[in-house]
């Protein structure tokens, strides 16, 4: 038996780009993150061929989860066609042979920056969120070793202080994204910079959500059917953005998260932030047969 028979043929890179030890490391950390929902698990973040801060954490998780039957969707603030999203999607397709898609319903892995799709995710789908800053306590405790002690003690009083200050100063909670949320009643996490609109989608969701910060080297997760509760005062309820009555000027869909497009005359137009969901709605309005999945929000409200 020759050495050539015992080894695989030479390739330019490993399947899924990352070497097996890197994937093993990530898989172990992901398992730990799933076992302790919301807990930030440190991991040895690898170099990938995009710049830190452009989704390296999410990309490493996606590459680790990848298999030849995977169907991958990548979105950037709701859009499938941004340069960043397109580049990551093509890269994943090239190094893993995965099928690329823009359809939420068809995807098995959805890597996202700053949005959760409007169509409900299923148990067989995994949502990978890119996280720039995984530490919710950073605004109140710059010393990370102390912040870790605070997590250990579930000492989160100061996070409510941020909300208190916003209410005092502005009369309402101004936290527009990265809204601190309690996971499984134990750890507070930042759900990445998704808008307030998207946070309730994580609560008791059927899908697995993995949040990964490549630059900060932290992974945390929300397993299926786990509670995710935004921090609120007893007498100040959680509010999502006032998009319930906004209508997409392209698809005529109403009651979903919109992008605001300021016009020269001072008015604004709105279009669906979830671009492929918008495409489906346009196709539907034009009489085409299109499968639109069940949405989290119905008539601008969560169930």
């Amino acid at each position: 038996m020759t050495l050539q028979e015992l080894t695989r043929p030479w390739t330019a890179f490993n399947y899924g780009f990352l070497d097996e030890s890197a994937k093993r490391e990530l898989r172990r950390r992901i398992l730990k993150a799933i076992a302790v929902p919301g807990y930030q698990v440190p991991y040895a973040s690898r170099e990938v061929p995009i710049a830190r801060g452009w989704g390296t954490g999410g990309l490493q998780v996606t590459l680790t989860l990848l298999k030849p039957t995977s169907v991958v969707k990548v979105i950037d603030q709701g859009a499938d066609d941004s340069v960043n999203a397109s580049s990551i999607r093509k890269f994943v397709g090239r190094v893993g042979g995965a099928v690329e898609t823009e359809d939420t319903q068809a995807a098995t892995i959805i890597q996202s920056r700053h949005r959760i799709p409007e169509e409900k995710l299923r148990e067989d789908q995994i949502l990978v969120l890119q996280v720039p800053n995984p530490e919710p306590l950073r605004p109140v405790q710059p010393d990370m070793s102390v912040a870790r002690e605070m997590h250990g003690d579930a000492d989160y009083g100061q996070l409510w202080l941020i909300l208190y200050e916003q209410l005092v100063r502005s009369g309402r909670i101004m936290q527009g994204s990265s809204y601190p949320s309690m996971v499984n009643g134990r750890h507070v996490m930042t759900p990445s910079p998704i808008p307030r609109w998207d946070v309730p989608k994580l609560n008791k969701a059927g899908h697995l959500t993995i949040l990964s910060a490549g630059r900060e080297k932290r992974i945390f997760a929300v397993p299926p059917y786990t509670s995710v509760e935004p921090l609120v005062f007893d007498d100040v309820p959680y509010r999502v953005e006032d998009h319930q009555d906004k209508t997409c000027y392209r698809s005529n869909a109403t009651g979903y998260f919109m992008n605001e497009l300021p016009q020269d005359d001072g008015s604004s137009l709105y279009e669906l932030s979830d671009s492929h969901f918008g495409v489906k709605n346009i196709q539907k309005s034009e009489g085409e047969t299109v499968a639109i999945g069940e949405t989290w929000y119905k008539n601008g409200r969560m169930d």
Partner: protein, 275 residues
């Protein structure tokens, strides 16, 4: 009650001591703490009774602030015991509590006012937010209640309510001390620790802050431990005085006894130096 007169503290009429009739609320025994070769506390005993003001005096480096830090569970001694008589709490050595238990005990039962407001306040948050923080750590989660209790505490500390949402960094030193005080009393602590609360303030502001402390002590019967190197402040405030030197208690007794008939040579030097 007689008006405070810092220029002539002897003229202050003291309430009769309410001591020795009740069980002590704070008891420390044989507390030893060394930092390298320096022995900061050399077997200190301290007892505080409910409703009294215990003054601790001594020169710089005598160990009085170290003792106060021990009382606030910010530091652990090399040896010694510490008990607080709290309703519904078992009698245990508080030095054996873990980090979380200490934090919770401090949040609920111990208030502290530091000499340096930067240690006690979040300078970039509002004054009311600073008070609310203490309530939040203790688990209060109702915004209207937080607001109301912050207002009450600041008002009790004679802080101008119209400035309750100003940031401490925008306030004078005296006002910052009042915010610290409001934060410390927000949960009606079993014991209020005051570490040189008027040092660095001008005399008129000092008198106002002391007046507020005295009124709070009278109205709310708050047990206080006051550390100061200023004998005038101690004489104005304290029912009982503990004199420390080189990590040891050299003399203690009723304030009038200490000031009028000091027994230890060091106390005599202190009193006469002041007078």
């Amino acid at each position: 009650m007689a008006a405070l007169n810092l220029d002539n503290p002897v003229g202050v009429t003291r309430q009769p001591p309410r001591l020795m009739l009740a069980e002590p609320i704070l008891t420390m025994r044989s507390v030893i703490r060394s930092y390298g070769d320096v022995r900061a506390l050399a077997g200190v005993d301290a007892t505080v009774y409910p409703g009294e003001v215990l003054g601790i005096v001594g020169e710089s480096g005598s160990g009085k602030s170290t003792l106060l830090r021990m009382m606030n569970l910010e530091d652990t001694p090399d040896a010694g015991t510490y008990q607080l008589a709290l309703p519904g709490q078992e009698d245990r050595n508080l030095f054996t509590l873990d980090r979380f238990e200490r934090r919770m005990l401090r949040a609920h039962h111990i208030g502290i006012v530091y000499q340096n407001p930067h240690l006690g306040l979040l300078m970039n948050h509002t004054s009311s937010g600073n008070v609310a923080e203490r309530l939040l750590i203790a688990g209060k989660r109702n915004f209207a209640e937080l607001r109301e209790r912050a207002r009450e505490s600041l008002d009790a500390s004679e802080f101008p309510i119209e400035r309750m949402d100003a940031r401490p960094r925008e306030l004078s030193g005296g006002m910052q001390q009042r915010v610290q005080l409001a934060k410390a009393i927000a949960l009606e602590p079993a014991v209020l620790l005051l570490d040189e609360p008027t040092t660095g303030l001008d005399v008129s502001v000092q008198a106002l802050v002391l007046d507020t402390l005295k009124r709070l002590q009278r109205d709310r019967k708050i047990t206080m431990v006051l550390v100061s190197h200023d004998l005038g402040v101690i004489r104005t405030m304290a029912d009982r005085v503990m004199v420390m030197r080189r990590g040891e208690v050299v003399e203690q007794g009723l304030a009038d006894q200490i000031f009028q008939d000091p027994q230890h040579e060091y106390t005599q030097q202190l009193v006469h130096a002041k007078l």
